[in-house]
């Protein structure tokens, strides 16, 4: 977790636009890269494409080409699909997952395994962390890969807290890119509109409510102006 005031000011000047790729740390590219995910066209294919066409796939890109090597449905029953089936079997936890990845049904997967002499997929005994470290505290992954407890973040929507926003934008992520990344991380839609509003509230966008006195941020009704910065209806003396 490392960001400077200089980077934050530069981010404000960009007003939500992404920085040039050459100006961004490599973790931004990694954060925006599509992940391998079970399910037809859900992300990168679980079994890598041997021609490497899934290497540079980003979140939101059309993954169709990346799946060109995946036999689907009854194609799995044919000779030639055994090598793929064997690799798939090692990467999924069940017949159902194998079926999801190949647009097939579980019976076709079962028959394909039998024809190709491949052991059917079995459940993985490892327990997913699912964002919780020890079951008593929830964590989210920040854009730079670090994990942080949600206890210190905005309780309503941790991905709209100023901390992950500041990290992302100061590193050169755009508002739209952040929305795409956060939606994938949260597994629920987080719109660019919401991200932009949250960035304004955190004074991460240009014109986010600067005042002549230098007070930054959008004032909320309950906020109290500090001495030297308040404006009064009439002179107090």
């Amino acid at each position: 977790m490392n960001f400077s005031s200089g980077n934050l000011l530069a981010a404000r000047k960009r007003n939500g636009e992404p920085a040039e790729e050459s100006e961004r740390p490599s973790w931004v590219r990694d954060a925006l890269a599509a992940e391998r995910k079970v399910g037809w066209l859900e992300g990168k294919p679980i079994v890598p494409n041997p021609d490497g066409s899934d290497d540079g796939l980003r979140i939101g890109d059309d993954p169709t080409e990346a799946y060109s090597h995946v036999p689907t449905g009854e194609e799995l029953l044919r000779p030639g699909a055994g090598s793929f089936l064997s690799k798939l079997r090692d990467r999924v936890d069940s017949l159902a997952e194998a079926a999801e990845e190949t647009k097939a049904d579980t019976e076709t997967i079962r028959r394909s395994c039998r024809l190709h002499g491949v052991e059917p997929p079995e459940p993985n005994d490892e327990v997913d962390s699912d964002g919780a470290d020890d079951g008593s505290e929830a964590f989210i992954r920040l854009p730079d890969g670090e994990r942080v407890s949600t206890a210190i973040l905005d309780s309503e929507e941790p991905y709209l807290d100023k901390l992950p926003l500041a990290i992302a934008l100061s590193a050169g992520m755009g508002v739209g890119e952040y929305a795409t990344w956060a939606s994938r991380e949260a597994d629920r839609p987080i719109t660019e509109h919401h991200v932009r509003d949250a960035c304004r509230a955190a004074n991460l966008l240009e014109g986010s409510g600067d005042s002549p006195g230098g007070r930054q941020g959008v004032a909320r009704e309950h906020e109290v102006a500090t001495a030297g910065e308040a404006e009064y209806d009439s002179e107090p003396w």
Binding site: H69, P79, L115
Partner: protein, 102 residues
Amino acid sequence: MTELRTVDRRLSNGDVLEIGPVKASGVEQPRGGGLRLAAVHDASAPEEYAVLTVRFPADDAEALDVPPEAQVLAVTTGTGAARPQAWVLMPMSAYETEGPDK
């Protein structure tokens, strides 16, 4: 020495069938799908086959997408707008010498 035996079986895509050289056969399309095969075969020389279906191409000018080792067993007509499909027997030996990925 020839040993004639019979097969009377409902087949589905992906089934494995052990059968010898077929002397005579009949097929029908049962309700609920699949293919019913009734055959007399020489059981003294059985081989294992995978039963596969191959949908007819949209254009008769296109070649049927059938692996070279496959033998066409039967053709069933489709229902409604579905195209007919060919039922083929693929020697299981073709699965033992898998080619590269698709």
